[in-house]
C-alpha cells in the first residue's frame, strides 16, 4: 500500500490530471485497440505456427532414407505413374528404369547398413457413412518392414507378418483416429473394413509412429503392398521406397551404396535419393520465417497505432502549452512535465492495450481457433490464447507508448516557461 501510495503521489506530482475524454482520444484508443488486438492474434498465430512446424519435425530422425521416381517425359511424378500404369506392358526402356516395390527387398539384401526397406504406395478412399464426419482416408500399401522402419507403436493388435504379405492376405491396420471415426468406441480388432468391394480384416490399431513429412499420420489405413496392388489395380510403381539406416551408419556412404545397387540393372537414373536432413532444416527455416514475417507485420500495425498516439500527444501538448508555462512558473521541472505527458501517453496506451488484448482473445477464439476445421493446411493445429503473446504484446506496447509519447513530451518539457506563458 505504501509503495502504491508513493507511486500515486509521484504521478500526481507530475501534474497528471487524466486524459481528456473526447472524440480524438476515443478514436486514438480505438486505433490502439485494433492494433493491439491484431498484434495479440498475430503473436498467437505465429507462436502456434512456429510450434506446429517444429512439432512436425519433432522426433524426426536423419536415418530414414527415401528413394523416389523422377518424372518421365516431362510430366509430373503423379502423371508419370499414370502413364506408366496405362502403358505398363509397353517395351519402353525408360519405364524399366523406374523403381518398383521389389527393389525394397533388393536393397535390404544387398546393403549391410540398412535396417529394412519398404515401398510406400498411396491412394485415397471415401467411406460414406452417416456418422463419419471426415470420410476421406489414405490407404497405404507397404511391406512388413514398414512397422520396424517407422517404429510403429500399437494401441491394439499387431502389424502383418511377411508371409501374410506374400500370400496377399486381406488384412489392414488402421490409425486410432480412423478407428474412432468409423467404429466409434466399439471393439475394432477382427472387424472388417470394406474397400474396393473387398473386405479387409483389421488386425491392428496404430497409436503413433515416427514423424515424417511424407506420410500423414491421421486417417490412414495400411495394407500389405501386394494386397494394395491387387485391390486398386495400380502398377508396381510405389510413391517412394523408404529405408532405415542402422545405428551409426554414414548417410552419404549408404546413399551411394543404394544408388550403386539400384543402378545395377538400369541404364538411366530416374530416381532421387534423399534423407530428412534437408527437410528438417527447411522446416526450421520456415518456422523462423513465419515468426519474422508476423512480427514485422505486427510492428507495422503498432507503428501506425503509435503514430496515432503520438499525434494526440502532440495536440495535447499544443493545447496545453499555457498550462505547461504555468506549471513551469510555479516550480515544475522539465522532468515533471516530461513525466506528465509520458504518463498521459502511458494511460492512453494502457487503456487501448488492455481492451486490445481482450480483442485479441476474441480474434484468437473466433477466427484462429476454427481455422483447422476450415483450412486443411492447418489440420491439427491448436490456436490458443497464450500468456506469452500477452507479455510480448505488452512489452512492445509499452516500448511504443514510451517512444510515441517521448517526442511530444520532450517538446513540452523543453518549452521556455516565459514563452509557454505567452502562447
Amino acid at each position: 500500500m505504501t509503495v502504491l501510495r508513493k507511486i500515486l503521489f509521484k504521478i500526481k506530482k507530475t501534474g497528471f490530471r487524466g486524459v481528456p475524454l473526447n472524440f480524438r482520444t476515443l478514436s486514438t484508443v480505438a486505433g490502439i485497440v485494433l492494433g493491439v488486438a491484431a498484434l495479440t492474434a498475430s503473436f498467437n498465430f505465429s507462436e502456434t505456427a512456429r510450434k506446429e512446424i517444429l512439432k512436425s519435425i519433432e522426433g524426426m530422425t536423419n536415418d530414414l532414407v527415401f528413394i523416389r521416381n523422377l518424372s518421365i517425359s516431362g510430366k509430373s511424378s503423379k502423371k508419370a505413374k499414370e502413364s506408366v500404369s496405362e502403358s505398363f506392358h509397353d517395351e519402353d526402356s525408360r519405364i524399366k528404369n523406374l523403381i518398383t516395390g521389389k527393389n525394397a527387398e533388393l536393397l535390404t539384401e544387398s546393403i549391410n547398413e540398412l535396417d529394412g526397406a519398404s515401398p510406400v504406395i498411396k491412394d485415397t478412399f471415401t467411406i460414406m457413412l452417416p456418422h463419419v464426419k471426415r470420410n476421406r482416408f489414405s490407404l497405404l500399401g507397404v511391406n512388413s518392414e514398414f512397422s520396424n522402419i517407422f517404429r510403429i507403436r500399437f494401441f491394439k493388435g499387431r502389424f502383418f507378418y511377411p508371409y501374410e504379405e506374400l500370400s496377399n492376405k486381406r488384412l489392414c491396420i488402421i490409425s486410432k483416429d480412423t478407428a474412432l471415426e468409423i467404429f466409434g468406441r466399439e471393439k475394432v480388432i477382427g472387424k472388417y473394413l470394406s474397400l474396393y468391394d473387398t473386405e479387409l480384416k483389421i488386425i491392428g490399431i496404430i497409436d503413433d509412429f515416427e514423424n515424417t513429412p511424407f506420410i500423414d499420420k491421421t486417417n490412414i489405413v495400411i495394407t500389405p503392398y501386394s494386397t494394395f496392388i491387387n485391390l486398386t489395380g495400380k502398377s508396381d510403381i510405389p510413391h517412394f521406397l523408404v529405408t532405415r539406416l542402422k545405428k551409426d551408419s554414414d548417410n552419404t556412404l549408404a546413399i551411394a551404396k543404394i544408388e550403386t545397387v539400384l543402378m545395377r540393372n538400369r541404364n538411366e537414373k530416374l530416381f532421387k535419393i534423399w534423407d530428412q536432413n534437408h527437410y528438417i532444416e527447411k522446416r526450421k527455416q520456415m518456422a523462423r520465417t513465419v515468426e519474422w514475417l508476423v512480427t514485422s507485420i505486427s510492428f507495422l500495425i503498432l507503428f501506425v497505432a503509435s503514430i496515432s498516439c503520438s499525434n494526440i500527444m502532440i495536440l495535447s501538448v499544443n493545447q496545453r502549452t499555457q498550462e505547461i508555462g504555468i506549471r513551469r512558473a510555479v516550480g515544475a521541472t522539465k522532468i515533471d512535465i516530461l513525466g506528465m505527458f509520458l504518463f498521459e501517453g502511458f494511460i492512453l496506451m494502457t487503456a487501448g492495450g488492455l481492451l486490445g488484448i481482450i480483442g485479441g482473445f476474441f480474434l484468437t477464439s473466433e477466427i484462429l481457433k476454427p481455422l483447422p476445421t476450415l483450412i486443411s493446411s492447418y489440420k491439427g493445429w491448436q490456436f490458443d490464447f497464450t500468456a506469452f503473446s500477452v507479455i510480448r504484446t505488452l512489452g512492445v506496447l509499452f516500448l511504443i507508448a514510451f517512444i510515441s509519447s517521448l517526442i511530444p513530451a520532450w517538446h513540452a518539457a523543453k518549452l521556455d516557461p516565459a514563452q509557454a506563458l505567452r502562447q
Partner: protein, 228 residues
C-alpha cells in the same frame, strides 16, 4: 537580495534579433516594493521574467543572494521559482478546467518543503483572498476579479519571499483592481518583496520605488517624488 548586472536579453537570431533588455543593472533588497513603469514594448515583462527566472539571460549576471542564477541547472531554477517567487499575471493564467482549490494546489505539487498540511495551506491562501465560497468553482466560471484573487492565492500559498505581478489590474475594473492591489500591498506589509509592472502612473506612484523602462533600458530608478 536581487542583483542584476549588465543584463541583456535578445529574442530571435541575427539579423532579425530584437533587443528587449539592453544592459540593465538593478539591485532590489528584501522587503522592497518596486513598481516597474514604462510603455508597451519597453521590456517590462521581459525584465520581470528574468527576475522570476522564467527567461534566460542573453548576457549578464543575475544573483539571488549569493547564488548566481545564470549558472543554475533547470531543476534548481524550478526550485527557486517554487520556493522564492509567487507570480501574478495580467491574464491570470489559471488552469481553466481546474477548480480554485486545485489551481492553488499546483505549486504545492512541486514543493519539496511544505510546512504544515497541504489542505490547510490551500484553504488559508484561498481564505486570505476571500474566495472560500468559490473554492470548488472551476476557474473559467469565475469573474475577472475572482480569477485574479485566485491567482494571488496561488502565488502566496507557499509564502514566497517575492511576489512578481505583471499588470495585475490590467484586465480588471477599478473596484476589483483596488482589491487586488490591496491584497498585494498587504503581502508587502508583511515584510515580503513586491515587484509590480504597471502602465498606470498613479498606481506606480503609490510604490516607494519606481523603475522606468524605455527601449530596454532602465531610465529611472528612484522614489516617486522625483519621478516625472
Amino acid at each position: 537580495m536581487i542583483t542584476l548586472k549588465n543584463i541583456h536579453k535578445t529574442f530571435g537570431k541575427k539579423p532579425y534579433e530584437v533587443h528587449a533588455i539592453r544592459g540593465a543593472d538593478l539591485n532590489i533588497e528584501k522587503g522592497e516594493a518596486v513598481a516597474i513603469f514604462g510603455p508597451s514594448g519597453s521590456g517590462k515583462t521581459t525584465l520581470l521574467e528574468i527576475i522570476g527566472v522564467l527567461s534566460k539571460i542573453t548576457i549578464g549576471e543575475y544573483f539571488i543572494g549569493n547564488e548566481n542564477v545564470s549558472l543554475m541547472k533547470d531543476s534548481k531554477k524550478a526550485y527557486l521559482r517554487n520556493s522564492r517567487f509567487g507570480f501574478v499575471f495580467q491574464t491570470f493564467n489559471l488552469i481553466p478546467d481546474m477548480t480554485v482549490y486545485h489551481n492553488v494546489e499546483v505549486p504545492l505539487q512541486y514543493s519539496k518543503d511544505i510546512k504544515g498540511k497541504k489542505k490547510d495551506l490551500i484553504k488559508a491562501a484561498i481564505e486570505s483572498v476571500s474566495l472560500s465560497h468559490k473554492c470548488w468553482q472551476v476557474a473559467n466560471k469565475l469573474s475577472g476579479g475572482e480569477k485574479q484573487r485566485a491567482s494571488i492565492a496561488r502565488a502566496i500559498v507557499l509564502e514566497p519571499d517575492i511576489i512578481l505581478a505583471d499588470e495585475p489590474t490590467g484586465n480588471l475594473d477599478s473596484e476589483n483592481g483596488k482589491i487586488v492591489i490591496d491584497l498585494l500591498m498587504d503581502f508587502w506589509k508583511r515584510g515580503k518583496t513586491l515587484i509590480l509592472i504597471t502602465h498606470n502612473e498613479s498606481l506606480a506612484k503609490k510604490f516607494p520605488r519606481i523603475l522606468k523602462i524605455f527601449d530596454g533600458k532602465i531610465t529611472y530608478d528612484g522614489p516617486p517624488e522625483n519621478f516625472i
